[in-house]
């Protein structure tokens, strides 16, 4: 269980990214974090595992106050939190297996990791996870030889290899096409359900978030402006989160996308018909 109390982040540049954010995530709950760019979504997620140092407030994962642990204990705290990144953030020149095994770095000694001699249990788990995400044929391929969707699957396997108690997911679908995005979101949500794993997903695609998550938190200018079930996300709420203009623009863009898709579909059907005639 994750509990965040009055979390503050002010950058050296003066940007006040988080202004006293508080919420609790229950076991197995998948939370979608939405909000316009610059609302502090990315800062919030990175404060939880202290890739960004918070300037105030507390973060409890179970009984441990992550915001107060020392540098050496931070390593132990971080290994309990799996993270999945926007541009996959795989180490490009390492193999799929090495990338997945890097999820164990918080547990093994430097020498073991240097010689790539991970404990048998870790290797078994890595094979099982690679199979779970459907990449069994690519174990020894270099990460830069994979497609976007495949890379994100490796990213998911790496996070799960940590045996995390919490998943932090930063824009998992931002660089993927719509179909792959849905597949990846489905995979993440299935895995969270299988393992009763709580997750915070930072996501800009509201429609996609509504489709998959259990709870939505809306962030605006560093403050929570909505916290509830996805079905409670009305147009009013969305224009409160995104501001009237931005929300209308986003909706218009979505409408246009839908129209484009419909036009393409119609064209395909026409062409198929035409080809049949010829």
């Amino acid at each position: 269980m994750l509990r965040i109390e009055a979390l503050e982040k002010r950058y050296k540049t003066g940007d006040h990214a988080l202004k006293g954010v508080s919420f609790t995530v229950q076991p197995g709950q998948v939370v979608g974090l939405i909000g316009p760019s610059g609302a502090g979504k990315s800062s919030l997620i990175r404060c939880i595992n202290r890739l960004v140092e918070p300037t105030g407030g507390r973060i409890f994962l179970g009984d441990v106050d992550i915001s107060a642990v020392s540098r050496s204990d931070l390593r132990k705290a971080r290994r309990r939190i799996g993270m999945i990144f926007q541009e996959y953030a795989l180490v490009e020149r390492l193999t799929v297996m090495e990338n997945v095994l890097s999820g164990r770095l918080g547990y093994v000694s430097f020498w073991r990791s240097l010689l790539r001699r991970f404990p048998q249990g870790d290797v078994d788990k890595a094979f099982a996870l690679i199979e779970r995400v459907g990449l069994s044929d690519h174990v020894d391929k270099r990460a830069d030889a994979l497609s976007g969707g495949q890379r994100q699957r490796v990213g998911i396997a790496r996070a799960l290899e940590q045996d995390p108690e919490l998943l932090l997911i930063d824009e998992p679908t931002a660089s993927l096409d719509p179909k792959t995005s849905r597949q990846i979101m489905r995979l993440i949500c299935e895995i969270c359900a299988e393992r009763k794993l709580p997750a915070i997903i930072n996501i800009h695609d509201v429609a996609l978030a509504q489709m998959f998550v259990d709870r939505i938190i809306g962030l605006k200018a560093g403050e929570i402006v909505f916290d509830g079930h996805p079905s409670a996300l009305t147009n009013d709420v969305l224009s409160r989160i995104y501001g009237d203009e931005d929300w209308n623009a986003q909706r218009k863009a979505q409408d246009e996308d839908a129209q484009d898709a419909a036009a393409v579909a119609a064209f395909e059907i026409d062409r198929a018909r035409h080809l049949e005639q010829v």
Partner: protein
């Protein structure tokens, strides 16, 4: 379409880019030209000596066109082996020392104090040209290849640490961040997050430095730091131009082999 209003006969001149004032432009450019003319005038060219030299250079060139590999083959061979030994050992030692210094000199992985210390080491190493360093080491450790080895290792540190540090500063931070997020220690971060990103370039630079070190070993030999350069120097002072020619041919051949091999290796490790 609306008709464009055209006025013919308008003048256009490219505005002066550096010095806007007409007076200073003439003064500075004119002054520089006058200085150049006067400076050439002070070069004291002694045409009779040039004429004598022409005859000598004829002998030098004819020596080079008929290189003599045999009569001093033992000296040439010894100098060559010395140069190659010096080059290889200096490169290996230099690279091994450069790696920790390069890591320390990368702002994104080293704490500020370490960063400044390592940057200072690099600055000192890069401040002196190889020949100056060689003269110093020859004075400290005597003539011979040991001084040459130290010189080349010292120069390698400045070269490689600086480029390695810059490469580490240019890595894709997302990959390093992901490794940090798993709870990796600092050494594990270097091994998993950074090494894979900089390794091809490190290998490429090391091979390139090997190539440079071989060429430098021929030069620093002339100031007494051993190797094929020392053999060349001896041959020249003995007016033994055909042997000198042979040595030059050997150096050119080896540099070409090194050049070809290093570009090949660099392509292969990408």
């Amino acid at each position: 379409m609306s008709a464009a209003v055209s006025i013919s006969g308008r003048q256009w001149k490219r505005p002066p880019l550096f010095i806007h004032s007409r007076f200073w432009r003439i003064a500075i450019y004119g002054g520089a030209l006058a200085y150049l003319v006067l400076a050439i005038g002070t070069l004291d060219i002694n045409w009779t000596r040039v004429a004598e030299g022409l005859e000598r250079s004829g002998r030098v060139l004819s020596g080079f066109f008929q290189p003599d590999f045999t009569s001093r083959s033992r000296d040439i061979w010894q100098g060559l082996v010395e140069s190659l030994t010096m080059t290889l050992t200096a490169t290996v030692v230099g690279v091994l020392i450069s790696i920790p210094i390069g890591i320390g000199a990368a702002r994104n992985v080293a704490p500020p104090i370490v960063y400044y210390v390592c940057r200072s080491i690099i600055a000192v190493s890069r401040a002196f040209q190889e020949i100056v360093v060689a003269i110093l080491f020859v004075a400290m450790f005597g003539f011979g290849p040991f001084a040459g080895f130290l010189t080349l290792a010292f120069a390698t540190i400045g070269f490689l640490s600086k480029l390695l540090a810059e490469d580490i500063e240019d890595i894709d931070e997302a990959q390093a961040e992901a490794i940090r997020a798993t709870g990796a220690s600092w050494l594990q971060l270097l091994n998993y997050g950074i090494q894979p990103q900089v390794m091809p370039r490190l290998i490429g630079l090391s091979v390139y430095r090997l190539d440079i070190n071989f060429r430098e070993s021929a030069v620093i030999g002339i100031v007494g730091a051993g190797g094929i350069g020392a053999t060349l120097n001896t041959a020249m002072s003995r007016y033994d131009y055909d042997t000198a020619g042979a040595i030059l041919v050997v150096i050119i051949a080896l540099v070409m082999i090194a050049e070809y091999a290093s570009s090949h290796i660099r392509k292969w490790v990408q």
